[in-house]
Structure formats: C-alpha cells, structure tokens
Symmetry: C2
Subunit: 424 residues, 2 copies
Amino acid sequence: MALVVQKYGGSSVADADGIKRVAQRIVATRKAGHSVVVVVSAMGDTTDELHDLAKQVSPLPPARELDMLLTAGERISMALLAMAIANLGLKARSFTGSQAGVITDDAHGKARIIDVTPGRIAGALADGAIPIVAGFQGVSQNGKDVTTLGRGGSDTTAVALAAALGADMCEIYTDVDGVFTADPRIVHTARRIPAISYSEMLEMAACGAKVLQLRCVEYARRYDVPIHVRSSFSSRAGTWVSEATGAGGESMEQAIISGVAHDRSEAKITVADVPDVVGLAAKIFREIAGAGINIDMIVQNVSAATTGLTDISFTLPRADGEAAMAALRAVQADVGFGNLLYDDRIGKVSVVGAGMRSHPGVSATFFGALADAGVNIEMISTSEIRISVVVDENDVDAAVTAAHKAFELDATEVEAVVYGGTGR
Amino acid sequence: MALVVQKYGGSSVADADGIKRVAQRIVATRKAGHSVVVVVSAMGDTTDELHDLAKQVSPLPPARELDMLLTAGERISMALLAMAIANLGLKARSFTGSQAGVITDDAHGKARIIDVTPGRIAGALADGAIPIVAGFQGVSQNGKDVTTLGRGGSDTTAVALAAALGADMCEIYTDVDGVFTADPRIVHTARRIPAISYSEMLEMAACGAKVLQLRCVEYARRYDVPIHVRSSFSSRAGTWVSEATGAGGESMEQAIISGVAHDRSEAKITVADVPDVVGLAAKIFREIAGAGINIDMIVQNVSAATTGLTDISFTLPRADGEAAMAALRAVQADVGFGNLLYDDRIGKVSVVGAGMRSHPGVSATFFGALADAGVNIEMISTSEIRISVVVDENDVDAAVTAAHKAFELDATEVEAVVYGGTGR
C-alpha cells in the first residue's frame, strides 16, 4: 500500500462531469488499497474569468487582492470534488493552501514555498478521509496573507506535499498522455517518453516542453519525489520523471536523445558594434537585469581585429522585449554601442538527452539534419545534456521534424512495447 | 469622526459597475472624515450558482464542503471591492471571516457567532487601510473549519463586527430605501419609517418584513448597535433601528403603529377532535419539535363541554408542512385525535407598534378595518407590541391595505418632511 499524491489540472475538472470522473478515479485508487492525497486546480477557465473581473474594476489590481481573488477558483473546485467523492461513499475533506500548511514568502502572485507543515492532511489521512488540497496557493509566513505560487503552482503544491508527507509518488494528471519526444501537433510520429530523468526533464521544460513546469521538476529533484505525468482521460501509463536510472534503467541508456523541445515565446536582441572593452558586456546585462528581465541564450561574436568592435546577441521572453529595448536605449550613449536590433520572429529548437554525454557527434547529427532540411542556424547554445539553436520562426516545424527523425525518435513497430512499459 | 461599519448586499455588488459604485461610496465616507469597515456579500446570484454546481455533483453535499464552496463567493466580491478602492487611491485590504476573527460554532450552514476577535481589522484601520470583510462566513472554534452563518449572515457579520469594534453605527446597504410602513408593492402609499426601535423591528422581521433578518436585529439589540438600513443606489436617509427613543424621540411617540407586515410563507395545520386530556397538546408539539420544525402561532379552541373534544391549530413554515404532517400521522393512534387538516393557502398580517402599549383600542381598529374590507380572520395572536391575524392567502393584500389606512400610515403632504429627517 502506497501513499500517492494525485494532482488534477483545470482541464480535468472543467465541469461537473469532469469532477465526477476525477472522483471515480480517486475512489478507484483508494479501493486498490492506496492512501491518496489530492491536489486540484481551479475549474477550466475560472482563473482567466477572475482575471477578467479584476481588470474590469482596476487596471493594476494590488497583488495581495489579486491572490485573494484567484484563490476562490481552487476553493470552488476542491469543495465540489470533496462532495463528489462523498457522494461515492468515501470520506473526503477539502483544505485551503493555508489549512494544508503550505507556508510561502510574501511575494504575492509568485510566492515561493518556504515550508510545508501538513499536520491537518496527515490527520485527515489517519482519520480515513481523502484530503483534497487547493493547488497554487499558500499562506505567507509573516503576514498570514493568502498567496499564490504563480505559473505551474498546482504542480509544485503537489510535489511539495508529496515531499512533506514522504509519499511514494506524485501523479500529475493532465489532458495529454505524458511527455512526448516532440510536440505531437508538429511531429505526428512523436512517441510518449516512458521514463526520463529529472535533469533531462528540467532541460525539456526550460526549452519549451509545456507538460511540466520547471519549478515543479526542480522541487521533485531536490526532494527525490518520483513524478508520474499522465492523462486523466485514459488509464494508460504516462511518463515517469525520476532519478537517472528510471524505468528499469535499460530504456534510458538506449536513448541518446530523449526528446526535441521547441519554444516560440522568445525574441532576440542584438547590440551591434560594441567597443571591445572590458566591462561593457557586464554593463549591458546589468541594465537588463535591473529591469527585472531574465535572459536566456547569449552569443558574443569574436571581435573583428580591424574595427575593435563586437556584436552581442541574446534571447529573452518576447513579453519583455519592449522593456529591454527601452533600458538599452537609455544607456546607448554611455556604453557607446552602435546599433540595437530587435527580432521576435525567431524560435528555439533543442535536443535533450543524458546519452549525449557519452555519445560524441550529437551536434554534428543535429546540425547536419537542419542543414539537410534547409534550416539556417542563427544562434547555438549547449549544456552537458542539451543543444539549442535559434532559427527563423517559420523554420521551427521543419527543424523539430528533422531532428526528431535524425535521432530515430519516430514511432515504429516498437511503439506498442514502449506504451506497455509502466516505468516504476 | 465616527467609526462606521458598512454592509453591502449582493444586489449592490452584482457586477463590476456595482462594485465600482460601492467603492466610490466607501471612499466618500472616508473623505468625509470617518473610519470605515466594510462587510460585503457575494456578487448577485453567485451563491445560487454555486449551489447549482454542488447539486450537479452531489444530491446531498456534506455541509462542511458546501460551506467551503459557498465562501468562495464573498472571497471574489471582497477582493474585487478592495481592488476598486485601491484604484481610487485609498488603501484597502480584504479579510476572510476567519482572518477577521469571526469565531463560530461547528454548525455548518447555520453557524452561530461565538466570539469576534477583530485584531487584524483594528490593525488595518490603525494602518490607514479600509478593511473589507467577507460577510456570511466564519471559522469554527474547534475544527478551525470554514463555516457559513446561514440566511441573513452578512448582516449579522456587520453588526457583530460593529459591536466588537465599538463602532458608532452599522449601515446596512440594500436595494430599497429602508424599512417601510408596508410592502410598497402592495400599498403604493407606504412610507419609509425614519426610525424604529429594536423591539418593533424584531416583530416586523419575525412577521415577514424582509429588509432585515431577525437574527441581525437581535444581535444589534443585545450589543446596542444602531443600524441604519438604506439604499446603495441613492444618498437618501433610510431607516434607523436603535433604542426606543430613536430619532429625536417625538416621531416614535406619535406612531401607535409603526408598520404593517405580512408573510405568505406559512401553512396552517389543524389537529381536530383532540381528547381534552392533560398532556396531549404537549405530546403533539413534542412530535413537531422532534422533527426539527419551528412553529409560529398556536390556537386552541375551548373544549366543547358536550363532546370532551378540542381543536388545536398552529402555523409553521410551508417548507416544513409535509414533514410535520408525517410526524403527526405517525402518532395519530397514540394521541387519539380525530383528523388532520392542512392548509397552505393562508397569509399572516401583523400590525406592529410600541405605541399600542399605551393606546387601547388598537385591536378593535385593526379587526374593524378587516371586517369593513370583507376579510375573514382565521387565527389571532398578539404580543405586547404586535397583533397578528391569519387570513385567506387571497385576502392578504386587502388586509394589509385596510390596516395601513386604518392606522393612518398612508403618505400625506407630511411625507416630504419625513424623507428629510435623517434620524440620528
């Protein structure tokens, strides 16, 4: 008998029927002999609707009040889910983030979890009840105010609770079958990845794979909580995210590349003709950081010896493009660069795989595949287990497809076996 | 400078425009130099919509979870109201019932307030912020669970907070101009009552006047909190509910009858041919009480000496009619009464006024007016300051109109002066 934390996303509890279906799944888990703690998001579009209401009364609502407002969403879904479970004959009890002991800092709208003290959750379990916990929310340590955790917050709540309760696993239920070798909307032959390591999943998430948020995977790695990402609409196994050995070990060793991720949310800024003087690059990036903007890739060309000038390019979220350009223009005279170029018609394509550590030639294969597909590479960046390129936005699909094929990730007759494996 | 608790009902904050209008009124009160604490209900039909959702997932939702669900309603309205006030340049901070220190018993759905410890509210006031408190909700003393106060709960929250904070007054904003001498939909010449005593208001509320709930008036009387019931859609003075001397004293002394109330929500049960034996009536009403049903009026006819049998009639909420009949049928053989009659086509009409204590002949005037209007009286009950009659449901309007006219409550040329008076 295991202790399982199950997290259900908004699409799984979009309406009363969805809530009843999820209740049945939870009851089935209990009847299979497991203890269950449930974390639930707000129903369907509730959070967006509440955001709309806020905009109608204030163009810039105070963050504390926005958190108070948004947390009404999970309050509704968790109470309904508890009712639906009770209607199936089992005891269920809903808990707000505060009641569940999710203690955060004071950063409303993007609070970080400081501590989890799940005394009431443990009490409910001991009492034979199924605790239903509001995802995405907590209570601030100092102000005792309601906070929200920001994007991916419900996944993080689930993993944090699993860690604090010493759960055997954390199941993240969503509307897809798991993590795929590429976005199936682009690559129809993409396969579900049965098992992936925390490090690879972190790279995939950072490079645009949207199934799991970076933050929840970081938390899971830190506390070694195995995650099972799966669909709430089927009973198929999904993707296990855990330590590198993963599902029986052998399947993960076989894969040089686990998957191909892409991201169309970035823009590129090029600071042209920067005098090649010590400290100028630092000055430029200090400006960007001062504006609260996170940058992703940075490329500096070798200084042209004849001119003493160099170009520095970097990528950043498109949403921050304007703010970054304004910040840079303000220091143009001071830094003495020549020109500023902004390009938001780019895309990033990344191949991720722990196997590339021991397999030379991955970049040659990747770049060769792109060349064969006629895709021009604008920027390159690498980590130990990832190679990312920036390409023209219009070339993203072709690049993803070419890389997926080059690393032999396309589904074959083997797929059925892959689907049959349940990881751990 | 006064400390004012203002309560806004669901119809006042039905949409974003309503919330912005209420925010302006709150800001105006602050700018007039007063300290303000606001209690707010859920927006418009939110509570009904949440009830509907609950029904969709469970025919009989657990009371604890229903409370968790319903309290999402005030959470939304209070956060939006705080945002709207902040947008007008003042500090506002929303608080749940729990955060505001509204401590209740464990009776989910109809919790009673045990204590109010408004430390955070006082802190917000000291900090120059306007506290916005969720009405209708609290936290249970033992379980630390979210509770709701049941019907009229938000009014009670407001009065309880006003008492705990030692506020100078509690303003209850609603969608009518105050308490009227009769329902203006029936009596077009009904006048707003500028001031009324707690006792009279209690009788009015108990007899069907819907503007204020019995419970909130009881609380106000116990802690001597003056209530000002008024419209959030106008700036006119409403009705002051306070100690008997009220608004300058003289106006209340003039009125023998403050108002005429009516109630169409009751039914009448007649237990016929009850043997006139000691203890049988007690047995009958023990059965009714055992079924959790509150009865209102009771009339027992004098026993007919020739038969040794008597009839007992009583009124009760129509909603409880079936349950009461079933309970009585179950003891028919044991008690030995002859017949059970059920009539839900009745209405209760009451005249209420502290002046009737010192003015004899009120009942003669009342019954005479009903007779002249051709209205037959089925039952009569009285208190020190009230006379109620049960009549045929179809006669209610005629009875209210006749009584209103007989006690000279119809608006005359004096009305403008009445409207001009602001009470205290």
